[in-house]
């Protein structure tokens, strides 16, 4: 655990505390289908963020009265493990977690074809095992993979990334250290095919030109993450296939 607060977040070359350029993402690792019992699951590491997402459903609505007659209900819980931050976090849901559960759900609702499963629920759990700034965005990136892994029909994968401002400069994907001293934070979730921004929050101060530039930076990063998501998803299903193809001649299957 480190708790240092460097004086300068940008060096003379314009590089950040962890050596990144302003428009550079932290290293991202994505894994799909890593939990056994869940219908779909995914894991993301982004910087020091370690986040698990799992999907159960579509399943019978419990309690019955929460069901909707013409579409599936999506339920979402964003939760931080007590050991995920420097000082132990009470496991009881905080107001922040309740709000994030809502905005994460709303960032994913536009992509899920919920009208195919009326009167059911799709439950989505985002568990932050270690938090390092930008956990809601990383959580969305993982959660949309978990939805796809559960075989739930959806328009497309949703990727999310935040842009912040450090020492007056827009910077992509702030880490915890940068976030704590940052001057603004703009988390964005994006669906590229539909050109739809499905999560948008902001705190700090941004001028209109800064907002436009920041939004573009975040969207470009979402597109990069989107490609990575697609690869991670396909990887899971292609691995066994390659092994098989070495052994067997092609055959038409039903």
């Amino acid at each position: 655990m480190q708790n240092k607060h460097p004086e300068k977040l940008l060096d003379e070359k314009g590089l950040r505390v962890d050596g990144r350029r302003l428009d550079q993402l932290r290293p991202v690792r994505l894994e799909v289908g890593i939990l056994d019992k869940a219908n779909g699951s995914a894991y993301i590491e982004q910087g020091k963020n370690k986040i698990l997402a799992a999907v159960y459903g579509p399943r019978e609505a419990h309690p019955k009265h929460i069901a909707l007659p013409d579409r599936a209900v999506i339920r979402c819980r964003y939760h931080m493990a007590p050991f995920s931050v420097d000082e132990r976090k009470s496991p009881a849901p905080s107001r922040r977690e309740l709000e994030l559960s809502k905005v994460i759900r709303e960032s994913l609702e536009p992509t899920v074809l919920t009208d195919l499963y009326p009167r059911t629920t799709i439950d989505l759990f985002v568990e932050i095992l270690q938090s390092d700034g930008g956990s809601r965005c990383a959580g969305i990136t993982a959660a949309s993979l978990a939805l796809a892994d559960a075989g739930i029909p959806m328009r497309e994968l949703v990727a999310a990334c935040a842009v912040g401002k450090v020492q007056g400069q827009l910077a992509l994907d702030l880490s915890d250290i940068e976030d704590k001293q940052g001057e603004a934070d703009l988390p964005v979730a994006y669906m590229p095919n539909s050109n739809l921004v499905t999560l948008l929050q902001m705190d700090g101060i941004l001028t209109l030109p800064e907002f436009e530039k920041g939004l573009n930076m975040a969207i470009e990063a979402c597109k990069t993450l989107h490609t990575m998501q697609r690869e991670a998803l396909k990887n899971k299903y292609s691995q066994i296939r390659e092994v098989a193809e070495e052994k067997e001649e092609p055959e038409v299957i039903a």
Partner: protein, 272 residues
């Protein structure tokens, strides 16, 4: 857990009327897409509060009371006062509001209002420190929704700003471990005036200040809070759909214009 909300009990035909009018460039209450409902703000309506304001935004009615008390600072900001925003969706305001702890809508409402005030540094929290690390002033902003006819975020944040601008605090003296409050009517130190502007997306149309009828047909919501110099200091998207990048570009510019107009109304009401 956050769950997809229940459908509003509005017949399809009624919804269609609202949607069709918007598609034609009109609105059910005959406003333009970019205009607000009439705004009336009264300040100083609760004598026992340090500051208070009541807003009527069309038929939406929100009361905000400010209470200033002494308390302890947060460990990471020992030299700053504390800001706490809480919102109550009082059951008398709408049949769907039920007694009980704040639900996700009340929490979101409070946190979006809080974000605007906090991020624009509207209150000079440093000036509220009495004894470093031990005693500071705590500003409680309680947002009370009394009649819900849509756009609670803007109504709540405008009323909160008017109430803060109207708030008066006593004179604090420290003697040993005791804090003595002497009656005085000094204004709360206010540095900035953040104003939120909320948009609704109905099909492909963007409207400002959605009423409840419009909220029930809109696909997505976006709040943009603008501080006094015209920069953005908070944003929050809600609803089951999203916004295109072109829409967002248009929205932020409208937000700056509407915020300036509404800020003038708030300051006039608070007599600043």
């Amino acid at each position: 857990m956050s769950a997809t909300p229940q459908l509003p009990p509005v017949a399809k035909l009624e919804q269609k009327t609202v949607v069709d009018l918007i598609a034609k460039g009109n609105r059910i209450d005959e406003r333009g897409h970019d205009s607000y409902r009439p705004i009336t703000i009264q300040t100083g309506v609760i004598e026992k509060a340090n500051g208070s304001a009541q807003i009527f935004l069309g038929k939406t009615r929100v009361l905000v009371g400010i209470k200033v008390e002494t308390g302890e600072p947060f460990a990471d900001t020992p030299e700053e006062g504390v800001l706490t925003v809480n919102a109550e969706l009082v059951p008398l305001a709408h049949p769907s509001f039920e007694p009980g702890p704040p639900d996700e809508n009340a929490i979101e409402l409070a946190r979006v209002i809080d974000r605007g005030i906090r991020e624009s540094k509207a209150i000079d929290l440093k000036a509220l420190c009495l004894q470093k690390g031990k005693k500071v002033q705590v500003v409680y902003v309680d947002v009370y929704v009394l009649d819900h006819d849509g756009n609670l975020i803007d109504a709540g944040s405008m009323a909160a700003l008017a109430a803060l601008a109207n708030a008066k605090i006593g004179k604090y003296e420290i003697k040993g471990d005791e804090v003595i409050v002497k009656p005085d009517r000094r204004p709360l130190p206010i540095n900035n005036y953040p104003v939120s502007v909320t948009f609704g997306k109905v099909d492909r149309n963007i409207i400002v200040d959605p009423s409840l009828e419009e909220e029930q047909v809109m696909n997505a919501r976006l709040t943009v809070t603008i501080e006094k110099s015209g920069s953005i200091c908070a944003m929050q998207k809600g609803g089951l759909s999203g916004f295109t990048t072109e829409e967002l570009r248009k929205i932020v510019h409208i937000a700056v214009e509407r915020a300036a107009e509404n800020r003038a109304k708030i300051l006039a009401a608070a007599k600043i």
